[in-house]
């Protein structure tokens, strides 16, 4: 039971690491990394749930019948989510660069202190 759901354990593990980093770190880059790890855990959740036991890649080959295919839809969905994640990350990083330019630091506590 516990091992059978190992993928969920992995997902939860990653998710917690990500959320913890996101909340606990003052460094803005680390925050983004945390966000990425968090999102990745969700990607894995989606990808693993598309797996049908004994299933193979959902590519039709002529003449081969009676094959169990994995569900491709979660993969397609998560492809979109990955793209969104990339966009979020790049926007976040570009914000970090501009924050660095404006404040001279990317540590959140220093930014708070240095308020005009």
């Amino acid at each position: 039971m516990v091992l059978g759901l190992f993928n969920y354990w992995a997902v939860i593990f990653l998710m917690m690491i990500g959320l913890y980093t996101l909340i606990a770190r003052d460094n803005l880059i680390k925050k983004i990394l945390g966000l990425n790890i968090f999102q990745t855990s969700v990607f894995i959740l989606y990808i693993t749930m598309g797996k049908v036991s004994e299933g193979t890649a959902p590519i039709f080959v002529k003449g081969v019948e009676d094959v169990v295919y994995s569900n491709p839809i979660p993969h397609v969905l998560i492809l979109t989510a990955i793209v969104v994640g990339v966009a979020t990350t790049s926007l976040g990083l570009s914000l970090v660069i501009r924050i660095k330019e404006a404040y001279g630091t990317i540590e959140e506590d220093e930014i708070e202190d240095g308020r005009p």
Partner: protein, 141 residues
């Protein structure tokens, strides 16, 4: 980077294949794994590699930032243009079946065109993002 001969030569050899592979992924996308997203990223990777080895300025001569941004925008237009075309031809939005006499062929064309739009956009965006970050002066205090 001038003295890194292996990198320079290796990149020179690799880049055409990277671009070709991108196109393979693109045009194979309607029946096999692949498609515009992946192809766009791979295509952009070729340019990024070139920039890493030969410097940002050189790659900007090949592909000025403006062109990259234009690509990002026009890919979306191509995508939406196909959608409009299907509507003009009497189908629903993105109903590729109406693009050719035979709906199956229509599906082919439609997916290819749409994926091409995706490729152009993703490529433009990836290169654009790369330019935006790489072009930034270092901020050593």
């Amino acid at each position: 980077m001038d003295d890194r001969v292996i990198l320079r030569v290796g990149a020179k050899v690799l880049i055409p294949f990277i671009l070709l592979f991108a196109l393979y992924v693109q045009f194979h996308g309607d029946y096999g794994p692949g498609g515009g997203f992946q192809a766009g990223v791979i295509f952009a990777a070729g340019f990024v590699l070139y920039a890493l080895i030969y410097g940002l300025e050189n790659v900007k001569q090949v592909l000025p930032p403006k062109v990259a941004y234009t690509c990002a925008a026009s890919g979306v237009l191509l995508y939406a243009g196909v959608g409009y075309l299907t509507m003009v031809l009497g189908g629903d939005f993105l109903d590729y079946g109406v693009l050719a006499h035979n709906p199956e062929h229509g599906q082919h064309y439609g997916i290819l065109l749409v994926e091409l739009g995706v490729l152009i956009t993703v490529f433009g965006v990836m290169v654009g993002v790369f330019y935006a970050f790489a072009g930034r002066g270092r901020l050593d205090s």
